[in-house]
Each structure stands twice: as structure tokens, then as C-alpha cells.
Subunit: 237 residues, 2 copies
């Protein structure tokens, strides 16, 4: 019987620019949860990746326009605008509210931008965890996005390493022996959402471990090439 | 430490119209997994709910047009059309490919429509599990949808009972004591996606159990009122 276990990692304090995020995560899991295992999926929320990478920009907390100018600067294409809300495409190709910039859980007077390249961030964390703890884990960098047609937000992957972003069931057959029509599942997005269930938005826990995923999923992969849809192939841009 | 366990339920055979789905699920979990517990979230994939409810329509397997006519009949609004693919709004308010109709894992010569009212389906399964097994579970009916901007499919909730579809963090504060901007999380969609990680598309397992969710989430809830966005409030319709 395949079974997943998902738990939030306790003992990770406030993160600052140039902090050794991989070391901090590996130590916290060792101290509080018995240590990382080969094949674990480490889901790291975007905010602490941005902080560790110094992706912080000063904003005037009393001037809403300074935050707004930042959103415009990070936007390559505005899809919709209503009141204060801008749905935009970022330079990374993500479509989200306010170019992925928000102010919560960041020191007053600062805003956190998305990492420059979240797939690279995930690779670096994965490599550093291997170096420090001697384990082969997968890493997902997650962020919280809205979506059209459905209310509420869900966490999705903005970067990954050591795991395929998509599992392709093409060529496999259903229980009736017919070739499957539904073929490409975005497992990194389902994993990011699953991790959010134990992190929540107000616990302050920024990292979750998903243990027990199918070993066949653990391969080279990245969000940019596998998940981000090119505007030319997109029916809604 | 809060921890989730997620496992697929073995021992559920082919489902037919008028089958006692709740009894079949409760028995399979009792026989193979030690039984259902109060607070378990039972995620049931749409296909077997539609089959048990007799939402099957004959199609000519040699005539692709008979399937297509069905899609048109179940559609209240076409959002996009490209080649064979129609992205449409169903009478339930869901926006998805081909009005949620697909042919995989259905007997040759038949197509499965979405349940008439998936929230009602979830309530009936929940009530019947309480009656048969004496446990208070939450039930989510899940289906596999695509999305704009991101490639790959994920499982989302099309119905729920005994759990809020959305958790609202409005009024709670972040680690800096500031009121949270991200406030409404679609936990039933994150749970549906998490369940898909142990079901996959070709295992044939149609039900998963998520154990260990926050008891505060277990309240009256439904997808139609909480998740389905009214077209008038939607920036992308």
C-alpha cells in the first residue's frame, strides 16, 4: 500500500539574506523530526527563499504607491486590472496577482520579490542538502496563487529540482484497457498544495516534508520548461 | 506536530448504477486499512460517483460526433474552442474541458457525465457512511481539470460535505503581527490534489483517505457556494 506522510518542519526561525537555508532545514528536520530521508520531497515556501537570496526591496510603508511601482516593474504583461488588483505575467512567465509580490511575513518597510530563478533556487537547496546531510531529496519552491473561475487560493510550485514537474501517463491504459485521455498530471503543483495543508498561512512554518512519493517521479525536472505555458499555446492570453 | 497521512483504498471493484458506494467504501477501508476514523477526509473520484448515480449515456464508439453532441448538450457557455477541444462552462458552473465528460475508465459505448449535484452526492455519501459505520467523516468528490497559464492537470473538488471548502484566515496576523493579505485558501482543492498523488491515473484506485486534518475545518461546506466564482465577479469570462 502506498502511503504519503506530510508534516511541517518546526524549529526554523526568521530567515535573513545569505542564510544557509539548506543547512537550516536539514538541521531542523534532524533535531525535531528524526532527519531527512532519501526520496523526501522538501517543500519550501517562496518567502524564505526570497529572503535568503536577498530579494528584498525597501518600500515606504505609508505610501501604497511605492509597492505599486514595484509591481509594475516586475510585470511584463498586464492581463487584467481591477481597482488595486493587477493580474500580470512576470518575467518568469507566471501569471499571478501583483507580480507575486506581497508584504506579509516580511519586515515592515520591505517587500519580497520572487526569486530570480526558482528552479535554480530549488537545485541549489537540493545540492546543498546532499552536501550537508548526505541525502538525495527533491525540492519544491511553492507560492500561493489565485486562479480564474474558482474562488480561493492554492499553493503551486514555482520551482523544483530532483523531481519531474509533470508525470506523463501517455501510452498507459485504463482499467478497461483503453489508452488514457488524461495524460499529464502536474504533480509538483499537487505536492505544493498538499504541503500547504500542514503549513497554513498563519502557523509561521515555512517548510514541509512529503514522504513516500513514487520513486519513479524522482528525476531531473523543472517548472519553467514543464509547467509554464508559452503564451502562444495559451487559450487565455 | 500536525501530520497528514494519505493512502489509496484497495479492494473497491468496478462500480455499477445503484451500487451502495458508501457501504462499499466503508467495507473496503475496514477490510484493508483498519477502518474509517472520525475526522477522516474521504476523497472519491468523480467517475465512480457518476457510475453509482447512473450518470451514463450511450455513445457510438465508432462515431466521435456522438460524444461531441453530448459535450454541447452539457455546456451552457463555450469559453474557447480549438480543434476537438472545447473549454466550456457546465450547468454546475465548472469551467473545464469537454464539459467534464470523458470516456476513460467507462465501459466501451458509454460516457460518464458529471453528477447532477456533486455537493449533494458528497452529502449522501457522508450521511450513508455515518449510518453504516458510525463515523463522522468529510467527503470530497474530485475531478481532473486543466487550467490556463500552467501546463498539466490537477485534481480539484467538485463537491464536498462535512468540511469547509475554503479556510478564511482574514483577521489573523502574520509572524510580524501584520494582518494577512492572503486570506482564503481553497483547502478542498488542495486535498483533492493531495489525494491524486496516491491514486494516480492508472492504478484503478478510485478513493483515498486523508487522515489528520485540522478539526476546525470540519464544518458544513460546499463547493458550489464557496468555490464556484460567479461569472459577474470573474475577470476571465
Amino acid at each position: 500500500m502506498s502511503e504519503l506522510r506530510i508534516f511541517g518542519v518546526t524549529g526554523i526561525g526568521e530567515i535573513h539574506p545569505r542564510d544557509d537555508l539548506a543547512g537550516i532545514i536539514a538541521t531542523a528536520v534532524a533535531d525535531h523530526h528524526g532527519g531527512l530521508l532519501d526520496g523526501d520531497v522538501v517543500v519550501v515556501t517562496q518567502k524564505i527563499v526570497s529572503k535568503a537570496e536577498g530579494q528584498l526591496v525597501a518600500v515606504d510603508p505609508d505610501d501604497p504607491l511605492s509597492h505599486k511601482a514595484l509591481v509594475e516593474a516586475e510585470t511584463v504583461r498586464v492581463l487584467r486590472r481591477r481597482g488595486d488588483l493587477i493580474i500580470s505575467e512576470t518575467k518568469h512567465g507566471f501569471v499571478c496577482a501583483n507580480a507575486g509580490i506581497d508584504l506579509s511575513n516580511v519586515e515592515l518597510g520591505f517587500a519580497a520579490l520572487l526569486p530570480e530563478d526558482s528552479d535554480r533556487s530549488a537545485r541549489r537547496i537540493r545540492d546543498a542538502i546532499r552536501a550537508r546531510a548526505g541525502v538525495e531529496v527533491a525540492v519544491i519552491v511553492s507560492d500561493t496563487f489565485g486562479r480564474p473561475w474558482r474562488k480561493g487560493l492554492t499553493d503551486v510550485a514555482i520551482g523544483c529540482a530532483g523531481i519531474g514537474a509533470i508525470v506523463d501517463y501517455r501510452g498507459t491504459t485504463d482499467t478497461q484497457g483503453r489508452e488514457l485521455q488524461v495524460t499529464e498530471v502536474a504533480i509538483v503543483d499537487e505536492l505544493a498544495g498538499a504541503a500547504d495543508l500542514v503549513l497554513g498561512k498563519s502557523t509561521g512554518l515555512p517548510v514541509a516534508i512529503v514522504r513516500g512519493v513514487d520513486p519513479a517521479w524522482l528525476r531531473t525536472g523543472n517548472v519553467h520548461d514543464e509547467i509554464v505555458r508559452d503564451p502562444s499555446e495559451d487559450l487565455f492570453r
